[in-house]
């Protein structure tokens, strides 16, 4: 049997479900096909459950340092099973919440796998439920929001086995508390798990192929963060390539090459965090002739693909692989379909956050990138140690860095490392979005005492006017 809709969204992650709700708000009859959990990776296997784990780790760490705050805690310990149970509970609560939101907005949800075949206005969607029941969905527009998954490199043995070698998925529901953990890849995913297991007492080694951790961040920030990680006892190997993994019954030995010299590291568990690949398979995209570049669908930045009526948003449409980028793209795409004024995403205005200890948050151009693009720049810096609130919180390690175009006063980039910076970056994102210059930022009154005052000071510093340093 066939059902007709204005729009069908394939994938119920932060790109897909947000797009579906926006479409419903605009009066479209909307369907959403999700094969597993509403909320996608973000909510079930990514952003949210990792934050739950890190919240537990943070409290545990604070308990271990309670004496510094005049408190005494004896016999602090943890139960990994309960930490994970809490994390799963958080995901479940939110996933159910997404279900309610979709229902409230009258989006029809198909608990099914989708396949595309040729159609008239847009490809037809065949929803195949777990019981094998097929529903043909005919819509004027189809949005693919199928997301991405962990990249694996089988040739180098970088392939999860569900036991010793994990991806983020296994790492979120660990079958044991590893004593020795090897994390391959130092992007946001790798570093967050490294921080979590380090906080719980594991011996953690992070291997990064490039010359520094979190290589997309400003060098000064990633160097600052690396120093903090090392201070906390993390072993960090950069410019290091994993040549192979050798498994025994209970441990894995990795052969790692650094500067032409090979060394071996043995760990109880390995986490693979070497990037992600788009979910473009088994959807019928080849038959439709959808243009795909490596593992992502090529779009115009507002989701339009080369196939009539077919759109793609979020991770499957390419980097940056971030939930908020997917949601924003979903909204732009739907508004464009509805004939509203929509803008493609400006990648320079997409913030990025890493919830390690310390946290890292950034938006816009790094200092090096700005110079490379030929900007004459002014750089402002303000350290956490100069901020009253940071000292009161016992968080004196951190840095807020701003990069301005010396000629126009445009805020080109902002880079932060330290406590709670992920909650502050949006201030700079708003400023960039509204195209403020240094003047408006300097004229803004930041409340005292807050960590955000450092954002002000950093701007002042770029113009030689910082007060508290």
């Amino acid at each position: 049997m066939a059902e007709n809709f204005d729009l069908v969204v394939i994938g119920g992650g932060p790109g897909g479900y947000v797009a579906a709700i926006r479409a419903a708000q605009l009066g479209m009859k909307t369907a959403l096909v999700e094969r597993e959990h509403l909320g996608g990776i973000c909510l079930n296997w990514g952003c949210i459950p990792t934050k739950a784990l890190l919240a537990s780790a943070d409290i545990y760490e604070k308990m271990n340092h309670a004496a510094a705050f005049g408190l005494s805690v004896q016999g602090a310990s943890f139960d990994l099973g309960k930490i994970v149970e809490r994390s799963r509970g958080v995901s479940k609560q939110l996933s159910t919440g997404v279900g309610f939101l979709l229902k409230k907005n009258k989006v029809t949800v198909f608990d099914a796998t989708a396949k595309l075949v040729k159609g008239i206005d847009a490809p037809k969607v065949i929803a195949i439920a777990k019981d094998g029941k097929q529903t043909e969905i005919i819509a004027k527009n189809v949005i693919l929001a199928t997301g991405a998954r962990a990249r694996t490199i089988p040739q180098a043995g970088l392939e999860p086995d569900g036991n010793l070698i994990w991806t983020y998925k296994e790492a979120l529901v660990p079958n044991t508390m590893p004593k020795r953990l090897l994390v391959i890849g130092s992007g946001a995913i790798g570093i967050e798990f490294a921080s979590f297991f380090k906080a719980l007492g594991a011996e953690v080694t992070v291997v990064e192929a490039l010359d520094r951790v979190m290589p997309v961040e400003d060098k000064e920030i990633s160097d600052f963060a690396a120093k903090q990680f090392k201070k906390r006892g993390m072993n960090i190997l950069t410019s290091a390539n994993v040549k192979g993994l050798k498994k025994t019954a209970n441990e894995v030995t990795a052969t790692i090459e650094i500067g032409g010299k090979a060394q071996e590291i043995t760990a109880d568990r390995v986490i693979l965090a070497v990037g992600i690949v788009g979910n473009v398979e088994n959807l019928g995209l080849e038959e439709l002739g959808v243009k795909i570049d490596r593992t992502h669908i090529v779009t115009d930045g507002m989701g339009t693909t080369n196939v009539k009526g077919l759109h793609a948003i979020g991770d499957v449409a390419g980097a940056p692989w971030l939930a908020h980028k997917a949601s924003h793209e979903g909204i732009s795409c739907v508004e464009k379909i509805a004939g509203k004024h929509a803008h493609p995403i400006d990648p320079r205005k997409v913030p990025g956050c890493t919830y390690a200890t310390p946290q890292v948050a950034s938006v816009g151009l790094t200092e090096a990138k700005a110079k490379e693009l030929g900007y004459e720049i002014r750089v402002g810096r303000f350290p956490f140690v100069g901020n009253g609130k940071a000292i009161a919180l016992g968080e004196p390690e951190g840095l807020v860095k701003t990069v301005f175009d010396a000629k126009t006063g445009e805020l080109l980039g902002a880079h932060m490392v330290g406590a709670e910076v992920t909650e502050m970056i949006q201030g700079y994102v708003v400023a960039m979005g509204l195209e403020t210059t240094e003047v408006q930022l300097m004229d803004t009154i930041f409340p005292h005492p807050t960590l955000s005052e450092m954002m002000h000071e950093s701007v002042l510093d770029a113009y030689g006017r910082a007060v508290h340093i």
């Binding site: 126009t408 195209e435 403020t436 210059t437 003047v439 408006q440």
Partner: protein, 419 residues
Amino acid sequence: MPIDILMPALSPTMEEGVLAKWHVKVGDEIKSGDILAEIETDKATMEVEAVDEGKLLEILVPDGTSGVKINTVIARIEGDGGLAAPAPTVAPAPAAVTPAPAVSAAPVSVNAAPSNNSGERVFASPLARRIAQQNGVDLASIKGTGPNGRIVKADVEGVKGGAKPSVASSNAPQAAAKAPATIANMPYKEGSYDIVPLDGMRRTIAKRLSESFRDVPHFPLNVDIEIDKLLEVRKQLNAQAETMGGKISVNDLIIKATALALKAVPEANASFSDEGILMHHHADVAVAVAIDGGLITPIVRNAELKGILQISNEIKELASKAKNRKLLPEEYSGGTFSVSNLGMFGIKSFSSIINEPQGCILSVGAGEQRPVVKNGALAIATVMSVTLTCDHRVVDGAIGAKWVQSFKGFLENPISLML
């Protein structure tokens, strides 16, 4: 308590105006209905009448101040003691003629400028403002692409970088590349000329027609029309009309034929916009009228629905109001098609500049006896040459030609005008 007198909005689109002249001075006792001042907009000069009474305490905006934003306090009167609520203190009275020198009948016409930018607050990001200032770009000349038309960095960079500037249709007095037409740049000796200051109307004519001629891809279509029959019908009509107190001109018949041709070929009754082509429901025919200091195009609305006598009377009234600069904004804005007739000056044929956002303008020459070939023999006929200038973005050659054919048909078989 003193009552503020505010700069009035004389039309729905007016954002600012020139405070041309005060008719009262400080200390005068003002009575309700007194003429306080003359305000000049880009179209007309109007008088401001007093609503409140009392002694004029101060004049805050002196004579001849231009760019006075609406609702600016321009003067204060004493008002009587306890009266609160300085409600609307002034009411615009559409009247008054500005003494303007130079008469010319340009074969062009001006419509109400959609004054989206002129003088109103320009919404621009701080960064866009700074980049504009650093590069000498006039923000008012840029169309914003940000939320609600806000001008953002990319808009300014589009202009300064030489990419196609998205110049708004009003308020771009000079093309970006062209040197400003200042007197200093001209090769005329000082003392060898008099300077006639530019009033609002002249500025509007200069601006809008420069833009139209530069930005609208236009082309002319010429045709000769024999009007002997038309003149005969007119004579008969006038015999009737005179008993009803009217007199029908050839131009009245041309307007009627224009309206009927627009009904027959509705594709020519169109306007271009970035969001799509506007197909107008009615033939609102703008008739160019030369007036002191310029020209204006009052509109015969729904002309396709009106009889010839009604059209004739309306044109007479509008032209007279125009000459006295008494036209109300709604009487000269929003036409869908223009007609400019220079036949009375003996002009044989000419082509006009498109009156944006209208899609076409018709230029009508003089009717004169000319030798024509009929059935292989020379004959004499009264012939009138007309030119239709079309905006090629909305009216292609074939459509323009179809319209001209239809128009010619109505005039050469004038009985069809009566249908």
